[in-house]
């Protein structure tokens, strides 16, 4: 196989020295991590390498020599470099050489032990691959190389393909901590040899984060114990809590904040990313919430809203009354059964009358309630939107009631019709065998059954029409609530930190690598430049999206249509923890 030498771009113009790195025999590739300059004492170099190997669990060794000829070619240096091969024995021994002012390199890889098979030569062909050490160190390869039984910090670096290169560089932090200002015996060159980079703000934030996290986690645990106390488990409160989406959202946010401010450090990069995403999402939420708050409380908008609310509710109720009057007449030219029509119409009209009186009772308090509810926007825009969704649900409660009455009536009718239809054909539903069986009925049974069947069939259009109208109204309200929930979900689960990272530092999230062939001359080894191929934005969102509340519709379109046809009640949002139907 062609021998691949991964060479850091920062070391392409340094003085001559020894190549230090890791040899991966399975891919026949040599990953050069640093260059040790002359003068050095071989014992000290071996000590340094042993130290680094122990600290980072990477098999670091001397791979060969690097020669940068700035002046006239020195023969003595050449022999000296070859002599080093005997001191630091490594199989194969790499010799990289660069002429002054020339872009082309010469590489040799010699194997001391003559192989048994005659086909493999004593010298291997070498391919040079340049890589940016800093970017490779900081990048996270996605998807991460799947290692079956790897303990954190326990196993030695072992991964397939190019992931091995990333792994090697990432684990060799111990080697990169020695810079040229160190008073050590050995002089190294790598990406950090000009001095370790750090930012004052980041260091201060790291120091401050400890006590701040401790304080906030205590506060949050206090809040969660307060909310989990027995009072809230009693029946009316627990029922209301489970139905309101505001409580669900608050609980979700509390869980997220607890995770962010927990005193445990993140174990792996994925957890760190998740914490960062949650933090940015909470910040954005609160910022948008404050913007909404300032907009609401300026120019007496709350007063305007409260003044507009009661007339809107009145208007909705009036429209419903018109609708019912229309149904009680001859809607769309259909002829209804007069008696049933009047009964149902009057029943629903009475409900609307009750509802309007209730709204008028509440009207003096609405402005106060809205003002206090508006204050909750400082907890976040998502909380404000959830409250809006709950208000919509409360204001359209009568539509929900009508839907339930219409659906139950229709469902009963359909059940009755199906069973009497079977009787009409002389069949029966066998509950034991769960199938339809033939049955011989008596004459009077058949007579009454057929009579009832006819009555139900002729009353069907009336009930079906009421059911249809109220189901459509209910679906409209459900759609509005659904849109609000979608927006809340979007804010909750969008990984903004990852998207920002992909925009500003694309090499941090790597989908893979890409190669570019550099200028080539016949007879010289092939030179390639390895660059990081960043993850596309859609993959970033998909990989790093945060788990949302889980309030998603769980029906498929087919089952929804089936339920609508048979009059079964539809509950589009099953909150987490509710029993399944």
């Amino acid at each position: 196989m062609v021998l691949k030498a991964f060479f850091p771009t920062c070391c392409a113009s340094v003085d001559s020295g020894l190549l230090v790195g890791r040899w991966v025999p399975e891919q026949s590739s040599a990953v050069v991590l640093a260059i040790v300059h002359f003068p050095f004492i071989p014992i000290q170099v071996k000590e340094l390498l042993a130290q680094v190997q122990q600290a980072s669990r990477v098999g670091v060794a001397v791979l060969g020599t690097w020669c940068h000829r700035r002046q006239e070619p020195e023969e003595s240096l050449g022999h000296f470099l070859e002599g080093l091969g005997t001191i630091f024995s490594h199989e194969p021994w790499l010799q990289l050489c660069r002429e002054r002012g020339s872009k082309f390199w010469s590489c040799k890889a010699t194997r001391r032990q003559v192989p048994t098979s005659p086909s493999a030569p004593g010298e291997d062909q070498v391919m040079l691959i340049f890589y940016d050490q800093r970017k490779v160190l900081l990048s996270q390869l996605n998807p991460p190389a799947a290692l079956p039984d790897r303990q954190a910090g326990d196993a030695t670096a072992s991964a397939g393909g190019l992931a091995a290169v990333f792994d090697t560089v990432a684990r060799s932090e111990a080697l990169f901590r020695r810079d040229r200002f160190d008073e050590g015996p050995v002089r190294l060159s790598h990406w950090q040899s000009e001095g370790v980079e750090a930012s004052i703000l980041v260091e201060l934030a790291k120091r401050a984060s400890g006590p701040v996290c401790l304080l906030l986690s205590c506060l949050l645990s206090l809040i969660s114990t307060a909310s989990a106390c027995r009072v809230f488990r009693l029946w009316p409160l627990s029922f209301i809590w489970s139905k309101l989406s505001t409580c669900e959202q608050l609980r979700h946010r509390l869980g997220q904040l607890t995770l962010i401010f927990s005193t445990q450090k993140a174990e792996n990069p994925a957890q760190l990313m998740r914490k960062a995403n949650m933090f940015v999402s909470v910040l954005l939420d609160v910022a948008l919430g404050f913007a909404l708050l300032s907009w609401l409380h300026g120019k007496d908008r709350i007063g305007q809203l409260a003044d507009a609310l009661v007339p809107v509710a009145d208007h909705v109720a009036e429209e419903l009354q018109h609708l019912l009057q229309w149904l009680m007449g001859a809607p769309a030219g259909l002829k209804m059964n007069r008696a049933l029509d009047q009964v149902l119409g009057r029943f629903f009209l009475y409900h609307i009358h009750l509802w309007i009186s209730y709204i008028h009772l509440m009207s003096p308090f609405i402005e106060r309630i809205l003002w206090h509810v508006g204050l909750s926007a400082c907890l976040g825009l998502t909380v404000a939107l959830s409250i809006l969704s709950d208000i919509v649900a409360l204001l359209t409660f009568h539509i929900y009631c009508f839907y339930v009455y219409g659906a139950r009536l229709y469902c009963l009718k359909i059940c009755g019709l199906s069973s009497l239809w079977r009787l009409f054909r002389g069949k029966k539903w066998n509950v034991l065998r769960q199938r339809v069986d033939s049955c011989s009925y008596d004459l009077d049974q058949l007579f009454i059954g057929t009579l009832l069947f006819t009555i139900l069939v002729f009353l069907l259009p009336t009930t079906a029409l009421y059911y249809l109208v109220f189901t459509l109204l209910r679906l409209l309200v459900v759609t509005v609530q659904g849109l609000i929930h979608l927006l809340v979900d979007l804010i909750n689960s969008l990984p903004l930190y990852s998207l920002g990272l992909r925009l500003c530092r694309p090499y941090r999230l790597a989908a893979g690598v890409k190669f570019r062939v550099l200028e080539h001359e016949a007879g010289r080894p092939l030179r390639l430049l390895m660059q990081i191929n960043p993850l596309p934005y859609s993959h970033v969102v998909h990989t790093y999206r945060l788990p949302s509340c889980g309030c998603h519709p769980k029906h498929s379109w087919g089952s929804l249509c089936r339920k609508l046809f048979f009059g079964e009640l539809i509950y589009p949002w099953r909150q987490r923890g509710d029993k399944q139907d």
């Binding site: 062609v2 190669f515 092939l526 191929n533």
Partner: protein, 188 residues
């Protein structure tokens, strides 16, 4: 070593295949698609603007005209940046992998690199597309769980769509490198 040849794609348009042999273990094939023709661009722009002018005479709202200009510009930019592929390149490096690059008309480049360890073989497949029978070159990937299975088929030159003669040239070169790679990897 570099050489250029002219082929045609399945619709009859002209394609240029550039072959670069960097070394016995590294080869690059670059297919250039026909550029955006001025004729089709003019035709589309004229249609959109005539329709907008027709709507303007109906509704007497000048917003329609500005909206039409806006839509045309955005549509052209979007087409150049996301749809129109100018060049497709296949770089095959022995013992490293196969890289496919598509460069768009706006200069954007999208690259995919497949490691040699995952590549099982490079083949020419036959497909029935509507009323045509077309040939396409594809890379077969190994299945990690099953040693003789194929986990994925990755087609190459999807937007250039060259004909069989061009594909045979590329196929022969790729097979030379793959054979060489298999020979050296199995030896101790």
């Amino acid at each position: 070593m570099e050489d250029e040849q002219s082929f045609s794609d399945i619709c009859g348009g002209r394609l240029a295949l550039q072959r670069r042999y960097y070394s016995p273990s590294c080869r690059e094939f670059c297919l250039s698609c026909p550029r955006l023709s001025l004729r089709s661009l003019t035709a589309v722009t004229c249609t959109v603007w005539l329709a907008a002018y027709g709507l303007f005479t109906l509704y007497e709202n000048s917003m329609i005209l500005s909206a039409a200009i806006f839509i045309t510009l955005l549509g052209l930019l979007g087409y150049l940046h996301f749809v129109k592929i100018d060049q497709e390149t296949l770089l095959i490096i022995d013992s490293l992998g196969i890289q496919m690059t598509s460069s768009y008309a706006s200069g954007k480049e999208s690259t995919t690199f497949i490691e040699m360890g995952k590549v099982k073989d490079v083949v020419i497949n036959e497909a029935i597309y509507m009323q045509k029978v077309i040939y396409y070159l594809c890379i077969l990937l190994k299945d990690p769980l099953e040693p003789h299975g194929i986990s994925q088929v990755v087609p190459v030159f999807q937007s250039a769509k060259p004909r069989l003669d061009c594909l045979i040239e590329v196929y022969r070169s790729c097979q030379e490198i793959l054979a060489h790679q298999k020979a050296t990897s199995t030896s101790p």
